[in-house]
């Protein structure tokens, strides 16, 4: 919650859109801490600091989306993951947990397994681009953690996702 509030303030200060809010449900113990202090014109930890989690989330893109009942990466998803791989190879202090999610249209257990497939698809792609497997973990939330709550495809499309949640970094 502390992390979420901090990001919200940073995003507001930079005039960025609210739809880039990170997931609020990462395992807190694994998340990057908040950063304080300033260095030159760059506010460490903010979205204009290329080594920050905020930059990763907003500029690189922390999530890839999937088609209904699918775990195959889309072309757009691959492009996003290329960016993530390159960022992770530059910022070697970070580890990541990839969260797989499903929309609400499915049974609970099946969606857990489907989320596992999605997280794994993203993980395998990052590994294929050179990110050491030792820096990546996967978890499935199934349909337990939607970010959009309407019951139609506009929301479902955003909920069928794999989100790369960073851990470690400057303050770790």
């Amino acid at each position: 919650m502390k992390r979420f509030l901090t990001y919200s303030l940073l995003i507001a200060a930079l005039g960025l859109t609210a739809c880039t809010n990170p997931d609020r449900f990462g395992s807190d113990s694994l998340d990057a801490g908040t950063n304080t202090g300033t260095t030159g014109g760059i506010i460490p930890g903010s979205a204009n600091d290329p080594a920050s989690t905020a930059y990763f989330q907003q500029a690189v893109g922390d999530r890839v989306l999937f088609e209904v009942d699918q775990s195959t990466l889309t072309n757009q998803g691959r492009t996003t993951l290329d960016g993530q791989a390159s960022w992770l190879l530059t910022n070697t202090d970070y580890q990541a947990v990839i969260e797989g999610h499903a929309d609400e249209q499915g049974t609970r257990q099946y969606n857990l397994a489907l989320g596992a497939r999605r997280a794994n698809a993203a993980q395998e792609y990052l590994i294929s681009k050179g990110v050491p497997a030792s820096r990546l973990k996967v978890v499935s939330y199934g349909k337990e953690r939607p970010i959009e709550i309407c019951s139609n495809e506009a929301c479902y499309a955003k909920n069928r996702r794999a989100v790369t949640v960073l851990a470690g970094g400057l303050t770790s």
Partner: protein, 445 residues
Amino acid sequence: MQQLLLSLFLSLGLILTGASPNSSVAQAQEPLRIIIDEAIIEPLPVAVPAFQAESPEAGKMAVDLARVVAADLTGTGLFREIPSSAYISTISDFNASVQFADWKAINAQALVTGAVNVQGNTLNVKFRLYDVFSGAELGSGLQFSGTVDGWRRMAHKVSDAVYARITGEGPYFDSRVVYVSETGPKDDRKKRLAIMDYDGANVQYLTDSGAIVLAPRFSPTGDRVLYTGYESGFPRIYVLDIGSVQRRVLESAEGTMSFAPRFSPSGQTVVYSLSQGGNTDIYSMDINSGQSVRLTNTPAIETAPSYSPDGSRIVFESDRSGTQQLYVMPATGGEAQRISFGEGRYGTPVWSPRGDLVAFTKQNKGRFHIGVMRLDGSQERLLTASFLDEGPTWAPNGRVIMFARETQGEAGSSTLYSVDISGRNLRPVSTPSGGSDPSWSPLQK
């Protein structure tokens, strides 16, 4: 269809526990009987006057017990209660002879009478069931003993005896349900394990809402619960002792996720799903040694396993054909037979405690259904339809199913429902907040 059979068959000795204060073999001419089948039935009119207080402290309890018995019986959809305002005569002495003409005149076909005695914290409840039209007792009177605090259980035991005698079906009211209590909006939902009586009374919480908890399942003796929890940040299987609320993790191999656990009928083995490298298969584990065995080995999703009542087979879901379907395999693994062939997707199979049916969740054309089919896939019957129904669990007698219904949209929430396996009597189960993933206990001892 409801009918009073005109045969001379008398269902005696269905329940022989407890003392029989005035055991009488009724000379019934037209025994009271409800045959439950698939057709619409007219509920049987029953009168349940306040029980007789046989000690000064028993006054309120004598009234409350009769109310719970009436609620149990009418809650099945098989009985209709005659209101006390219609009574011509009342019961003022448990042992006095009943004025059958007075009860016949108000068309009460069954009459339940009872007496209550409270001594300290001990509660004694006696009851008799009368077939009003034949003017005879149906079965012998029974007596149950328990604690004052557990008074609702005494009522459920009376109801169970009445229900079993009139329907010939097994009892189920003296049972509990463990479920996931839900609060908060869809994008910030808090989940806790909770346990309650089958009718929603006596809710107690077993975990806090600090981590996601999913799909609790009772042990065959009803004293432990398996569930999936995210306490570690990853889905893991836990076993929780209901009495002490102590829990321990069962499966925690690094780099894996485990979920969908269920006990074997012996209680010694747990069958569950384990995900590794994106692939989900079914495993079983000896609960004492922790030794596990892999039962399926395909690149498909295999999950939601459930044992047959004799422990020899497992029904589960797999998308190995391309969509979720139901399969049956030996409990030791090996070749699986597909049993679902209808339209749509099938998941969350649960083997009936009677062994004759499997209950499941079906998705078809954007709707969800709870259904039942025979183990060879024949006689599929959909019992419900809504935006999202899922996760059936069987009452101990295999006649009633509980499940969760989630409503659509931003304000969507989940509520427990029960339905008869004929598809009749769909009704919400009252819980203090939202509920999902119910698991019905065995009948209590």
